[in-house]
């Protein structure tokens, strides 16, 4: 841990979770090398991607766990959303292969050097990769599937309340008018 803090700016998220941020691919490569050789964080346990569409980046998180399984370290790196790839880690961590395959399918990130990037969970998928923010799942559903009929009489309650209020007002006014006429 000490070796890490002297070299990187480590953010402590909680006593057992730390994160370091890198900017470039080279720095990322270096950080992964450093973390796995000079610190106790030897297990790659997860690769995550979060889509920050406003900033035009994917934020990739490589989660490392130490030998005692008591602390976690996140190595975070932003990459461009327009098809920028990263070198695959599958040579060094066999488990990275399937994680990269998953991310490739869900976000369309090409991992260079991973030759298993064929379809993983989707079959015959031709649309956008589904976890990208611009993919609208509800629009896709309405275009491809039908729902059960018989629910068209659903009312918008706000509209209904307003209509009834106005109706009541009108009735009241009519009644008053009628009573005036009576006089």
């Amino acid at each position: 841990m000490n070796a890490l803090t002297t070299r990187y700016d480590v953010t402590e998220k909680n006593p057992r979770l730390f994160s370091i941020e890198v900017d470039t691919r080279d720095a990322w490569r270096e950080a992964i090398d450093f973390v796995t050789t000079h610190t106790a964080f030897v297990t790659l346990s997860q690769i995550t991607c979060a889509d920050w569409i406003e900033e035009e980046v994917f934020r990739l998180t490589y989660l490392f766990t130490d030998r005692a399984r008591s602390q976690n370290l996140m190595v975070q790196l932003p990459i461009r959303r327009d098809g920028e790839g990263l070198p695959s880690l599958s040579n060094r961590f066999p488990q990275a292969e399937v994680m990269e395959r998953d991310l490739h399918e869900m976000y369309g990130i090409p991992f260079e050097g991973n030759d298993t990037l064929y379809p993983f969970v989707l079959e015959g998928w031709t649309d956008l990769p589904p976890l990208r923010r611009e993919f609208d799942t509800l629009a896709y559903v309405h275009a491809h599937y039908d729902f059960q009929q018989g629910r068209e009489d659903n009312k918008d309650v706000k509209v209904e309340q307003k209509r009834r209020r106005e109706e009541a007002k009108r009735l009241k006014a009519e009644q008053e008018e009628a009573s005036h006429d009576g006089e």
Partner: protein, 227 residues
Amino acid sequence: MQQGLKQIEGLRQEGFVPYHTSLTEEVTAQQRTLESETEGLANTQTLIEKAIHWFQAHSMFVVAYGTGCGAIEMPPVFTSRYDIERLGVVGVATPRQADILIVSGYASLKTLRRIIRTYEQMSEPKYVIALGSCTINGGMYWDSYNTIKKLEDYLGVDMYVAGCMPRPEALIEGFVKLQAAIRDQTLEPGYVRYRDDYAWYRRNQEKVLGKNIAPQYEENYAGMELS
């Protein structure tokens, strides 16, 4: 009314409307009771037919395919707590020996292809029990891009069980009602609809799965009829 029925009959022959579409029935917002209205079809079975249907109803072989999360309530149903073997329901390994396919919950597109394949391999008479909300109108996954919303568009379903998870009792209730329907022949079986309206079902299947699905069921069926 009569004319409307005729019209539907015409459409059916062209393969456009499945039998269960209720064009003549107006779906009203009246309160529905929990009891379902079973229409008593004319019960004109001979004694032998009665015996056959009784036997059919009491030996139901369920194909071992847990397609969704409903599969987790199947072990309690099939083992000693609820022990559905009392009713003659047993699990079998292959679809060719099976009478019942339980579609337990949501069916993703990749599974739907296998479900269709499994269903078409089963020999008639065969019945489908749809378990859980997801098979009726999408359930929890109504906005998911990868699950189908209405199972009845793709298979001939005979019995729906409400719940997310349905309790084991609900699943047993489904079996009991299906048995009664088979015994009394009050049911228009899903496989008959599937066979007769195959063009409609096939079109729905191709809409979501593309052309790359199991070979045409119809062709085999036509061949069987000729021989």
